[in-house]
């Protein structure tokens, strides 16, 4: 007797756990590969999956086995010209693998690395693992988007899925008792009467009375039975209500210098940096708003599309961007409600006396209100006035201000990790 079962629908992705275990074990290798991939990718396919290659020796599961040497006897198939007693010179590699020789590769080459593909999801996980926006501490009730469903007792209305069986049956039972109590009392009395009547000597029995009693009892029983076992209004449902939950709201200001002094390569690096930041925010902080500001001599708030793809350019006045940021902060993002972040990228080239203005705006109007401000300077040259002014800002706000320098593309990802790595709160 055979049973035939269609199992195609269940048990999909059964090996997911094992795959995760595997990825977990080789995290170090994968992270390295992800870091390298970030450097070599073009700006448009930053978030695809990646081929990961792990040296076979790191992934081997060792067992006791025989090594080469000693005397080995083997039987091989497909003899063509040998007769017993022939002697064959030993070649560089032994003929065939066969027998107990283990995995001697017969082509004489070493084994390749263990190569596999990780998905986009897994790639991003590894890319942003251990990163966070620092100092995200302000929480507020935002109104209508963060809820938590909690139980709130029992109600008379609801969907069948939330039916509370115990309470419903208890209500039904109570109703049945209430609706039938007087009838059952009557019934009991009549039954006693009937019993008394029947206990009498047969000759003395009042047949009419007996019949009457039996009829009444019958009638009462029928009426008791007619009370429904379960009625509509017995049904009780578990009541769930949604409670709003306080959530932190954050906004990230992205300030990018697009002045004429930035050549194509530096602009590209700045864009890469912000793209990384943008991916990170979109992935890890669903409810974070991003404000894009680009500036040359004047600053302008733009949308995502324009920020990354517009080609407009001009001279450089960095403070224009800071002023715009200050204005937007005041108008739309009161510091009491928002966790505010700033990220600025520039080549450090600024209009002569503008750098001190930047310093002043930062210290007076921006740094007191933001959670974290990061500045990356993309230049292979020496630092100029702006960097020096910013260094003084860092001295004043060591926990909330960070600055790094990017020289070429391969610095971007490490610097990014540096700026947003998870910090243990002091």
């Amino acid at each position: 007797m055979s049973y035939i079962i269609d199992r195609r629908l269940n048990g999909k992705k059964k090996s997911t756990v094992n795959r995760q275990r595997f990825l977990r074990r080789y995290k170090a290798h994968i992270k390295k590969a992800v870091g390298e991939a970030m450097n070599s990718r073009s700006i448009t396919d930053m978030e695809k999956g990646e081929r990961i290659s792990i040296p076979t020796r790191d992934i081997r599961e060792p067992v006791f086995s025989h090594g080469p040497g000693g005397r080995v006897e083997r039987v091989l198939p497909g003899n063509k010209e040998f007769v017993a007693g022939d002697r064959v010179p030993r070649q560089g590699q032994q003929e065939g693998g066969g027998g107990g020789g283990g995995n001697a590769s017969d082509s004489g080459e070493g084994m390749d690395d263990f190569v596999f593909q990780i998905s986009q999801e897994e790639f991003l996980d590894f890319m942003f693992e251990g990163l966070q926006l620092p100092n995200m501490i302000k929480r507020r009730l935002t109104g209508n988007d963060a809820f938590q469903v909690v139980r709130a007792g029992i109600s008379n209305e609801g969907t069948p899925g939330r039916l509370n069986v115990v309470r419903s049956l208890r209500a039904a039972n109570a109703r049945r008792i209430a609706l039938t109590s007087s009838k059952r009392r009557n019934l009991r009395e009549l039954e006693i009467e009937l019993a008394q009547e029947e206990a009498k000597d047969p000759a003395l029995r009042d047949q009419r009375k007996l019949e009457q009693l039996r009829g009444k009892i019958e009638e009462l029983r029928r009426r008791i039975d007619r009370v429904p076992y379960l009625d509509d209004f017995d049904l009780k449902y578990n009541l769930l209500v949604r409670q709003p939950r306080p959530r932190s709201r954050a906004v990230m200001f992205c300030l990018m210098d697009v002045s004429g002094s930035m050549n194509q390569a530096t602009k590209d690096m700045a864009k890469r940096f912000f793209l990384l930041l943008y991916l990170f925010l979109r992935r890890s902080y669903e409810y974070t708003e991003v404000v894009f500001i680009r500036h040359h001599t004047s600053a302008k708030e733009v949308d995502e599309e324009e920020f990354f793809y517009s080609r407009e350019t001009g001279g450089t006045i960095v403070s224009s961007a800071l002023k715009l940021m200050r204005r937007i902060m005041r108008e739309r993002y009161p510091a009491s409600e928002w966790n505010i972040y700033g990220a600025q990228a520039s080549d450090g080239d600024n209009w002569n006396d503008d750098s001190s203005t930047c310093h002043k705006i930062l210290i007076d109007d921006i740094m007191p209100y933001v959670q974290y401000y990061s500045y990356v300077e993309i230049t292979p040259r020496d630092h100029q006035a702006l960097w020096e002014e910013y260094e003084r800002v860092r001295e004043l706000f060591p926990n909330h201000f960070a600055m790094e320098q990017i020289v070429d593309v391969s610095d971007i990802y490490p610097v990014f990790r540096q700026l947003f790595s998870q910090k243990v709160p002091a």
Partner: protein, 529 residues
């Protein structure tokens, strides 16, 4: 007799004559019909099987089943994930086709059919797995005495749950470390010469508690540190522990490792029990595959002879069949050892020929079976042998000639390889013995046994490797010792012996380093638990 069957029996069923199907599409109904037709034939041929549970699965599920080494319910471990990725890669790149089937030695016998297969392939798999392998599992002596088909699924579930609960309680890393180490020693978790109790989940759970207490007592006894009065040199010589060398290293660890927690011992036990479950399969590869291949060939050919399948069906079947039993010659780039399907199928087919049409040579070589009833002879050959003895007993000169077998001796003291025997009158016996020896697990795996424990001193564990024809240990030895060291918790030494002479020694932690050095080194050596 066969003819009367086709005309007489089953006349009531209207579809009992003529082809069962004519297209390559399969449906559940058709699978059922084929299964029934094959079952009837199998019954006629006297195959004794467990009930079948045929499961249709997708290719992804097949890769799953594949990567968990055929355990339908596997515990979680990274190595299965690695295996899955490997298989997925190869499959997607078209480097390998998936196995047509996987069959589990359980009762009912579970066989997986892939949904991508054509009807012909499904029928082939049913014949191969559900009647070939199935009857082998049920009747071969190794399977009968080493595994309990009715309880394996329960046991696997028990193991999975137990390991999951350990992970919750002690952390993934801890559990993974123990499992890694156990896997490294899995091939040394079997008593070769003692018949074990079949495993059972209920029993396991019941006895788990009992074992915990017992072990603790036993351990305390072994490691008692109170010195006895008047200990002399000769006494320590007398009280060697273990008294006899132990081949079952995992068992020895489970019972005697001084530092393991109880749950860790349970993990060792689970891996050991699984090793035991798979042990017969490793010992009967040629027979098992040969038997199943012989029967799918015989059963489907018989179906064809009776007109139940079409010519097209037969062409497709024969193509798959010849692929399965293709043996590349030794100098082919595709050569990867002797194909167990080929060898097993050749021997079983030739056995049938010897029974039905014996030649003079057969009468001389197999006086007992030449001309006997082939069904009984094959059943006998299947029941009471394992690969080694099966080849030694039944490999006929004709098969050796057909496969053009020859044996070589590769001695590292000689400059050339010697062709020691070929498929001729002088060589048959030697060839047969050599080939049989090749399937002796004892020859294939290094013979390593627990030799002694320094119970009074540094608690170090010493193992001996007894060399077979001076064959040394492979390059992984040091790595495996690290795993052993992790389980044992104290120093581990392994001596490789040629006769009485130690030719190589391995130590973990490695000797010749300062203790302070080994502190730093401990990043590389797995930490003892």
């Amino acid at each position: 007799m066969l003819d009367t069957y086709t005309t007489g029996a089953d006349a009531s069923e209207s579809d009992s004559s003529g082809p069962i199907s004519t297209t390559s599409e399969w449906t559940f109904e058709l699978i059922q019909k084929y299964d029934r037709a094959i079952a009837e034939l199998a019954d006629e041929f006297g195959l004794d099987t467990y009930p079948n549970q045929i499961e249709v699965i997708s290719s992804e599920q097949m890769m799953d089943a594949y990567s968990s080494v055929g355990m339908p319910v596997g515990y979680h471990h990274w190595s299965f994930g690695k295996q899955f990725i490997n298989i997925e890669n190869n499959y997607q790149r078209g480097l390998m086709g998936l196995a047509y089937e996987i069959v589990i030695n359980s009762n009912p016998c579970i066989a997986y059919l892939m949904e991508e297969n054509t009807m012909t392939m499904q029928a082939l798999v049913i014949a191969h797995a559900c009647y070939g392998h199935n009857s082998f599992f049920k009747n071969n002596y190794l399977f009968r005495s080493w595994t309990d088909a009715s309880s394996i699924i329960d046991y696997l579930i028990f193991a999975k749950n137990y390991i999951a609960s350990c992970e919750e309680r002690y952390g993934l890393d801890e559990v993974e470390a123990v499992l890694d180490s156990c896997h490294a020693l899995m091939n040394y978790g079997v008593d070769r010469y003692k018949r074990p109790y079949p495993i059972s989940a209920v029993e396991e759970e019941r006895r788990q508690k009992e074992r915990e207490e017992y072990r603790q007592r036993q351990l305390n006894d072994l490691w008692r540190t109170i010195p006895k009065s008047g200990t002399g040199e000769e006494e320590s010589e007398e009280q060697r522990f273990p008294e006899e060398p132990q081949e079952n290293i995992l068992y020895f660890i489970e019972k005697n490792a001084p530092l393991l927690e109880n749950w860790q011992r349970e993990l060792v036990r689970i891996v050991r029990k699984l090793a035991q479950y798979f042990y017969p399969q490793r010992q009967t590869q040629v027979m098992n595959e040969g038997w199943a291949t012989f029967w799918h060939y015989t059963l489907l050919s018989e179906l064809y002879r009776r007109g139940r399948v079409t010519d097209g069906f037969m062409m497709e079947f024969l193509q798959s069949h010849t692929n399965v039993i293709y043996q590349p010659p030794f100098d082919s780039p595709y050569y990867n050892g002797i194909n167990p399907y080929t060898l097993g199928f050749a021997i079983f087919s030739d056995l049938r020929r010897i029974c039905e049409n014996p030649t003079e040579e057969d009468r001389q070589w197999f006086p007992d079976i030449a001309g006997s009833n082939w069904k009984e002879t094959l059943q006998f050959a299947m029941r009471d042998f394992k690969d080694e003895s099966f080849i030694l007993q039944f490999l006929s000169p004709k098969v050796m000639r057909d496969l053009k077998l020859f044996s070589i001796t590769d001695d590292d003291r000689e400059s050339e390889i010697l062709v020691s025997a070929i498929h001729d009158e002088d060589g048959y016996r030697e060839l047969r013995a050599t080939l049989a020896g090749q399937y002796n697990l004892g020859n294939r795996e290094p013979n390593i046994q627990v030799y002694s424990v320094d119970t009074r001193g540094d608690r170090s564990l010493t193992l001996h490797h007894t060399q077979h024809w001076r064959r040394p240990l492979g390059k992984d030895t040091g790595e495996v010792l690290k795993h052993l060291h992790r389980l044992w918790g104290f120093d581990v030494h392994l001596h490789s012996l040629n006769g009485d002479e130690i030719t190589a020694s391995y130590h973990c932690p490695e000797i010749g380093r300062d203790r302070s050095d080994s502190e730093e080194e401990s990043m590389l050596v797995p930490k003892p638990i």
